[in-house]
């Protein structure tokens, strides 16, 4: 190694980074499903030969923490049996990298000169993986067996040869297989791109140099995160909150965290949270890990590409079989509720300590919506599966952001009205900010959004999970709470169903209107401290009447 020009290492680092990005682009462009190509609900990356993350491209935050545990579980299971050209398919939430069955991962070992040198891996949200509900998002399952096809890590490709039986089993067990199988091929193509590029790199530089660069990448990011941790306020910080279940089946379920920050460790102790439930709002340990990593990154805020080393100071402690670390056969379809709920506790505990990094509470919930039905014009089945934008909390120097996807999402795009109306049997009557209150404060919380679907054909079904329905996003430093989410269905006959937070397979017919309303964020600081000019502008922009402004901010027209 001695004698290698240090700048060559920089070039190798650069190349490694661009491999993750290239895989990401390749997958988006070849995918068949809107949830991948529009919502970018997937991630791609490279790990070293031991499964440590070295390069990634991801569209949603949560997947960042899922690739390396997934690769590690493949290593555990197959070890020496791995061959060049193998591709392993895995969606089991209870072993590495699991969120729910809909997120399907593919892992490919990369060999150079007959030696395992790295892994190329990706994970994407499939439109359907079977199970009791179209779209495979079930808000009323009580065992994982109802949620879809389980793949605990099986060889889809054996030494480059497609295992047709596995493909057949998958095709036979899922709805709209042309989409998901199309996505599977897109994932395969992206993995192969990663493999090809990595091998090209191996052709240009010695294996030792590349291994050294990878080790450097991981150790330098570990050193960096140690420095950041050392600069944080030390102590024990606690928070509690609730995971909202389905009121008809149970909940809300209390969760809690104790964050301990020392000179060199960042420990998140979730013990004492509610035990696992037979309602699909549990998450597995690996699901929690993924979201806690997101939260941790929001605190460490690295400006460079993320590697495994960054997470070295992070420790997570849970009870066994807790709602935040559920075990088989607990249902986990709506796992993001627990995953994000658990991670956001850390946010809530630390925001007052580090307001320069963290704002007040946000919409938190993915606010997932599924509408299934038949298109009135062409008679074809359609399926909407989408997250919804909500309001973010106000910060120490700015109002909260309005209409933005929650912390679990990221480079996630909403579905345009014009695209939705062409593809689905709905008409979007309204897509705008909610007009009722958001968290008042010196800085006000961002607005949630109203999206309404007028249903254009009979026999459609709605399933949705809107969190922060019973508990509003929290305010901070004297700021008010935000506004809670709700769903209302205005039936064609004038009846109103709701407000609801959760609904499963609610029948809809032509002329019904579904109103989906996402949470508004919490406020920051005392409302009476809000600048006069800003309140005036808020009124002009139609966010408050003068009376409301008087009530909430002590506004008097000058």
């Amino acid at each position: 190694m001695a004698g290698t020009n240090p700048y060559v290492k920089e070039i190798i680092k650069d190349s490694l980074m661009s491999i993750g990005e290239e895989m990401f682009i390749a997958l988006a462009r070849t995918s068949m499903s809107p949830i991948i190509y529009e919502v970018l609900d997937y991630a791609c990356g490279l790990t070293d030969a031991k499964g440590n993350l070295i390069s990634q491209g991801n569209g949603v935050t949560s997947f960042i923490g899922m690739l390396s545990p997934m690769v590690k579980s493949v290593l555990d299971k197959f070890g020496e049996e791995l061959k060049a050209g193998d591709i392993i398919i895995i969606n089991d939430p209870y072993i590495g990298g699991g969120s729910h069955l809909s997120d399907v991962g593919l892992v490919m070992p990369i060999f150079h000169e007959n030696k395992l040198v790295a892994f190329s891996a990706n994970k994407g949200h499939w439109t359907d993986v079977g199970g009791k509900n179209p779209g495979s998002l079930t808000s009323d399952s009580n065992e994982i067996y109802q949620e879809g096809l389980q793949l605990s890590g099986v060889k889809l490709f054996d030494a480059g040869v497609l295992n047709k039986s596995v493909e057949t089993i998958i095709t036979d067990n899922i709805r709209l297989p042309q989409f998901s199988i199309g996505d599977m091929w897109a994932q395969v193509a992206a993995l192969r791109t990663g493999e090809k590029r990595f091998k090209e790199l191996c052709g240009l530089h010695s294996k030792e140099t590349i291994e050294q660069v990878i080790a450097d990448l991981i150790s330098s990011s570990a050193e960096y995160s140690q420095q950041v941790i050392a600069s944080l306020p030390k102590g024990v910080f606690e928070a509690e909150d609730y995971i909202e279940g389905d009121p008809e089946k149970g909940g809300p379920y209390k969760i809690k965290v104790k964050v301990t920050i020392t000179e060199d460790a960042f420990i998140c102790d979730f013990r004492g949270s509610h035990p696992q439930v037979s309602h699909p709002v549990n998450c597995s340990y690996f699901g929690l890990l993924a979201s806690v990593r997101v939260m941790y990154l929001a605190i460490v805020q690295p400006q460079f590409n993320i590697t495994e080393g960054l997470f070295r100071p992070l420790k997570i402690i849970t009870d066994e079989k807790s709602i935040l670390s559920a075990e088989r056969p607990a249902p986990v379809s709506m796992n993001f509720e627990a995953r994000l709920g658990g991670a956001e506790l850390i946010w809530k505990a630390l925001a007052p300590e580090i307001p320069e990094k963290l704002p007040a509470g946000h919409s938190l919930s993915v606010c997932s919506v599924t509408v299934a039905g038949t298109h009135p014009d062409n008679g074809e089945d359609f399926l909407i599966v989408e997250p919804s934008v909500g309001g973010w909390g106000a910060a120490n120097e700015a109002d909260g952001q309005s209409g933005q996807f929650c912390m679990g999402n990221g480079e996630t795009y909403n579905v345009p009205i014009e695209v939705a109306e062409a593809k689905y049997g709905v008409l979007v009557g309204n897509y705008g900010f909610r007009k009722d209150s958001s968290g008042a404060g010196e800085y006000i919380g961002g607005r949630g959004v109203v999206r309404s679907y007028e249903i254009l054909s009979d026999n459609q079904y709605l399933s949705a999970t809107y969190g922060r329905h019973q508990f509003k996003p929290w305010g901070m430093k004297g700021g008010e709470k935000g506004a809670s989410s709700y769903i209302e269905v205005h039936k064609a006959n004038g009846n109103i169903i709701g407000p609801l937070g959760v609904t499963t397979r609610l029948p809809l017919d032509k002329g019904d209107v579904v109103e989906l309303v996402t949470p508004s964020g919490g406020g920051y600081g005392n409302p009476s401290d809000r600048e006069y000019g800003k309140v005036e502008k808020d009124i002009k922009n139609g966010f408050y009447t003068e009376e409301e402004a008087m009530d909430q901010f002590g506004y008097k027209q000058r």
């Binding site: 682009i25 929001a298 963290l358 014009e418 705008g432």
Partner: protein, 681 residues
């Protein structure tokens, strides 16, 4: 005679061809905010005869500057009931994934100036609710009270049926005739309401500024010349009339940079190369674009201010596909939190500029690195170079932290800059399925000739062309450009469900509309040709493949052939095909070109010099493998056809230097272009 003027950030350039067939180039300072001043100055300075101007072609950064400096007008927006917040919700994405204090791009129209009117179309363009005209009248009054300076209209599904937008425009024209109005359908007929709304709003935002700019320029030109054949460069690589540019100024958003790409295509045609990678390095950025089989790629996937941490603003106007990265001669070298060496995107700009400019710049840049290791000559700098300062900057900022010599530090800077540019070049080539070996690189701009040899070697490109007058090649491209319009219409139909009569009519309607547009803008005096292409995809996919489709009538045989071609193109681009999946058309794309006669390139006269006599000096240059080596430096002005320069060597002219590495050789063609052969074995 044809004259081009191009306003850049620092200089306003002028280029024309005189009676002897020689290109004449001049530059003067850019004069914000009265940019026309700089244009008149450079023309006066060059001493050209105004009355001999037959055609005046202008390129300008006024539009992009107005946008980035937020110096446009107060815009009022009219939207469909229920959608006033679409502009602010945007797409809801948060590209800076781990920043929980991320701020979305602020909309160019605040909420109180975004009004809704009752009206509704469905996706088929059928009217569900007629337009409430009173809503429009009320909106006009409200905007008048608020002092609005321009109005934008964007209604749902107007790409399919613009009826209500046309009605609203008429009502505004009747009630407030002097106010500039932009309706979305006039600019784009593609779906996705946020992108369309933002585009419409930005056009309205720059319209008054552009109108007054063009009017004053026009006025100044009128006082000098009676010929009013005046044109302006658009982002699609073609020109249009002054009057058109006042209506749709946003079409000029990338006015300058695309001219170079177009120039590369034209030069390729002249020298017999149809597969080209155009590569342009300026002071702050590097830009590259891929030209396949002579086709400059034009799409509507353009954004301003977007980067990997910020969503930016989509502008869906036809723009030549360019990948631009923050890596130019002035890009600054720095070390990140992890101790990795980075170059750019921060640039020292023209002031203070690189350390070597001696204007107070303290940060080591790519130019400093190239100068320090001898690839650039200090004799070509405007002022004396203080080498000790350059050395100190490189040493302290790069070499010391990595424990290397300053020479290796300088090479490190160049390597990182090249690595960045290599990624950009791969993005347009290998990542899209193209093999760089099938392409010729045309490198220009001040820095292109310096970096081309190394990048081409890495990409395994075999041939690089450094055009004559490489540093003003973009202006040359402008001189060579045609009149051009790109009309794109969303037309969502599965191949199996196509109504041939309808789509054939759609094509001819588009052609008819385009011809009218050409005649309105006095562009119909050029011979006109149409080029059709379609954006196709497999059913269920989102992303499309743009496919040239020929101008034949559509029928069953036609689409069967198109399908075969699409499967091939899809496999080429994405590495797989889905033979049994239905093919869907998303957009029809009609390009209308008015072909303008191009000045013929002049052949350089032989000068009878031996190769040895063209050597300026022997200079020490530092190489990774060999250290400092005396290297021959040739004078480009003396090189002629027949001269063959073996690398390592540098060919110098005042404004750019071409590096030739070991095992590479350079020939000069009859026009004075340098033809670099990359691997000579």
């Amino acid at each position: 005679m044809k004259v081009t003027t191009d306003i850049g950030g620092t200089f306003t350039d002028l280029l024309y061809m005189n009676d002897n067939g020689d290109f004449v180039f001049d530059k003067a300072h850019t004069t914000p905010p009265n940019f026309e001043e700089g244009v008149m100055n450079v023309m006066a300075q060059s001493g050209l005869d105004y009355e001999s101007i037959e055609m005046f072609i202008h390129g300008s950064t006024v539009v992009i500057n107005t946008l980035t400096e937020r110096k446009g007008s107060k815009v009022g927006l009219i939207t469909t009931k229920g959608t006033r917040d679409v502009l602010e919700i945007a797409r809801g994405n948060r590209p800076d994934l781990y920043n929980f204090k991320y701020k979305k791009p602020e909309p160019f129209v605040e909420r109180y100036l975004r009004l809704e009117v009752e009206e509704r179309m469905n996706y088929k363009g059928e009217v569900l609710q007629t337009l409430n005209e009173q809503n429009v009248i009320d909106a006009i009054e409200y905007f008048r009270d608020e002092g609005v300076e321009a109005i934008a209209i964007c209604l749902l599904h107007a790409y399919k049926n613009p009826g209500h937008e046309i009605e609203i425009t008429r009502l505004i024209n009747e009630n407030w005739p002097e106010l500039p109005v932009t309706a979305s359908h006039e600019m784009i007929k593609e779906w996705r309401e946020y992108e369309r709304t933002n585009t419409t709003v930005l056009n309205a935002y720059v319209k008054p500024v552009m109108e007054s700019y063009i009017d004053s320029l026009d006025g100044r030109l009128n006082s000098k010349s009676s010929n009013n054949n005046r044109y302006i460069m658009q982002s699609n690589g073609g020109i249009t009339s002054f009057s058109d540019s006042k209506k749709y100024p946003l079409n000029l958003v990338e006015s300058g940079p695309v001219a170079g790409v177009y120039g590369a295509a034209i030069l390729g045609e002249i020298i017999g190369e149809s597969n080209i990678i155009s590569f342009d390095i300026g002071g702050t950025t590097a830009k590259c674009s891929l030209i396949s089989e002579g086709n400059v790629k034009v799409s509507t996937d353009y954004y301003i201010e977007k980067n990997d941490k910020y969503a930016g603003y989509p502008i869906k106007v036809p723009v030549v596909d360019i990948v631009e990265i923050g890596n130019g001669g002035g890009s600054i070298a720095w070390i990140d939190e992890l101790g990795s060496l980075k170059v750019g995107p921060q640039s020292a700009g023209s002031t203070p500029g690189p350390v070597s400019y001696g204007q107070g710049g303290e940060k080591a840049t790519t130019t400093d690195a190239n100068l320090y290791i001898g690839r650039l000559s200090d004799k070509n700098f405007d002022s004396d170079v203080d080498f000790s300062q350059v050395r100190e900057a490189i040493d302290k900022q790069v070499a010391k932290p990595f424990g290397t010599s300053a020479e290796d530090g300088a090479l490190g800077i160049i390597d990182i800059a090249n690595s960045n540019m290599l990624n950009a070049l791969k993005l347009i080539s290998v990542r899209k399925g193209y093999n760089p070996q099938d392409f010729t690189m045309i490198a220009f701009g001040g820095g292109g000739p310096m970096h081309a040899a190394e990048l081409a070697r890495n990409l395994k490109i075999r041939k690089v062309v450094i055009p004559h007058a490489a540093s003003v090649f973009s202006a040359w491209g402008m001189l060579m450009s045609d009149a051009r319009k790109d009309n794109i219409q969303t037309y969502l139909k599965k191949f199996g469900a196509l109504d041939f009569e309808d789509i054939n009519k759609q094509w001819t309607d588009m052609e008819k509309a385009s011809l009218e547009d050409f005649s309105k803008n006095n562009l119909d005096r050029f011979p006109i040709k149409f080029e059709r292409s379609v954006d196709l995809r497999y059913e269920g996919q989102e992303h499309t493949v743009k496919m040239p489709i020929g101008n034949d009538e559509w029928n069953q045989d036609f689409i069967e052939e198109a399908k075969i071609k699409f499967h091939e193109m899809h496999e080429f681009t994405y590495s797989f095909r889905l033979e049994n999946t239905e093919v869907e058309i998303v957009n029809m794309h009609l390009t209308t070109i008015g072909e303008i006669e191009k000045p013929a390139l002049k052949e350089l006269e032989a000068n009878g010099l031996e190769l040895e006599e063209t050597i300026k000096e022997n200079r020490n240059i530092y190489y990774k493998e060999h250290g400092w080596v005396k290297t021959r430096i040739y004078d480009r002005n003396l090189l002629r056809k027949g001269h063959l320069v073996e690398g390592p060597a540098v060919i110098e002219e005042k404004t750019s230097s071409t590096l030739i590495l070991e095992n590479q050789q350079a020939e000069i063609d009859v026009y004075g272009n340098i033809i670099l052969t990359i691997e000579v074995r």
